[in-house]
Assembly symmetry: C2
Homo-oligomer: 271 residues x 2
């Protein structure tokens, strides 16, 4: 029985096995480990968007980060897919394994407060543009009291990556960075970012170039290696470590026992 | 400042004004009233089902109750619409009014436990049939501790009508009866069922025949007057009163200040 907290981020990418993660989580929780899960849901949001005739649009910032453009219409699609489907059925999977999971989005009880970026700068066909009516944000406050109240009462929080603006508006936020902020707010020992690759590679996608360990001082360099979505994971790792989390592990979510496997050091251990 | 709890059910039918209900709720909460909201979402679930090519199917039981047939596919549609959209954006509306709302479905933390009706008897074209693979249920336990923990910590629970089976499966449950079970479990003073009519009519749809008061002993008779969806509201009222709730009011959700209006006695007061 330990009082340390591990925050696990489950990727929304295809290939990541939620059922293996849920089973591993159930085993660890039964052994007394405190877990908080944060999930993505990109592929579900894309699929629902296509099905209802509102396909997703991805934009790239001048500094090279890719994100989902979210206006009010696509925010609804995102909420339905990520909060309605992924969250509900992940909670169901855990409940079926005897885990008293409880799903929340960041709007619930002001769990994740964020500064809304109502206008974002993007680069499209080499040209800089401004996009307005965007419902995304950067988290600046986590209601740790709410999570601690639930953990103390025996619940396992399962968090969907939506946040609340200063005005109370629902925002789409990056799930890796949401997990990082949650881990920092809870003084978690470990933040696990489970994804569809074995870790950060020096030369993506050559898995033989996977980096085993990155000291905190080496993160800036690592952000340069990172491609696409991986950039946000490394950025999230940096935010988590700056917030007091002891270690961040980027690891494979497609294997058996993905949580225990990662905690055994399989993956890129940062910090 | 009172310690009594009022449970408000907001209909998912078109015409019911969630924003007027949210504003009225915010005013009452600011005055110290403890509220728990339970919502429906039929029209949103129907719309999403149509949009993704999985239109809803309604079935009638031999005793004349109508309900939504929910297989695994339509359960996902229901979860996306009701838990993902209606719940998330009702919480948002309340947060924008300064209410610290927190959305839950009955699967979260085992809030609503139900017995699954995996096979249901229906009447179709005058013939009795059995339907299997149904994911609906009848609530038999409410986790009142969870609601009380949240209320004591200052949150306003907003409950989506989904429950959890004995095995942990997600089920679609009737929102009126979910609200009744929640009210009974919390020893609420009042259960308000806000809908798109002014109350129970002796001769539907003639509003001049609205019944102002029904004593608890008169409920069996009232179930006979009730048509369609109203039958479940009266049944819910009966369940709530049997569970110790002091009064149930079926009232108009389409007016200004719908909660205060109903509490002032406008509607059908039962019990």
């Amino acid at each position: 029985m330990t009082n340390s907290i591990t925050v696990v981020k489950l990727g929304g990418t295809e290939g990541v096995d939620f059922s293996a993660i849920a089973q591993d989580a159930a085993k660890m929780i039964a052994e007394g480990q405190k877990l908080v899960l944060v999930h993505g849901g990109s592929s579900e949001a894309n699929a629902l968007g296509e099905a209802v005739g509102k396909p997703p649009r991805f934009v790239t910032s001048p500094s090279g980060y890719t994100s989902r453009y979210t206006n009010r219409e696509t925010l609804e699609v995102f909420a339905m897919a990520v909060n309605g489907k992924v969250n509900t059925f992940l909670v169901e999977q855990l409940q079926m394994l005897g885990v008293n999971a409880l799903g929340l989005s960041g709007v619930d009880g002001g769990l994740l407060k964020a500064k809304r970026k109502s206008a974002i700068r993007i680069v499209e066909n080499g040209k800089k543009k401004m996009l307005r009516d965007d419902y995304t944000g950067k988290i600046n406050d986590v209601n740790a009291d709410l999570l601690n109240t639930l953990l103390d009462a025996g619940y396992v929080p399962v968090v969907a990556p939506m946040a609340m603006s200063e005005k109370g508006e629902t925002l789409n936020v990056d799930a890796d960075r949401a997990a990082a902020e949650v881990a920092a707010a809870l003084d978690a020992d470990t933040l696990l970012l489970l994804t569809a690759v074995p870790g950060l590679m020096r030369e993506f996608p050559d898995e033989s170039t996977m980096i085993k360990e990155i000291p905190q001082a080496g993160i800036e360099k690592a952000i340069e290696y990172a491609e696409g979505r991986m950039k946000k994971k490394v950025l999230g790792a940096q935010e988590a470590l700056n917030g007091g989390v002891k270690q961040v592990i980027i690891a494979d979510g497609r294997v058996e026992n993905p949580i225990s496997n990662a905690l055994a050091g399989n993956g890129t251990v940062i910090g």
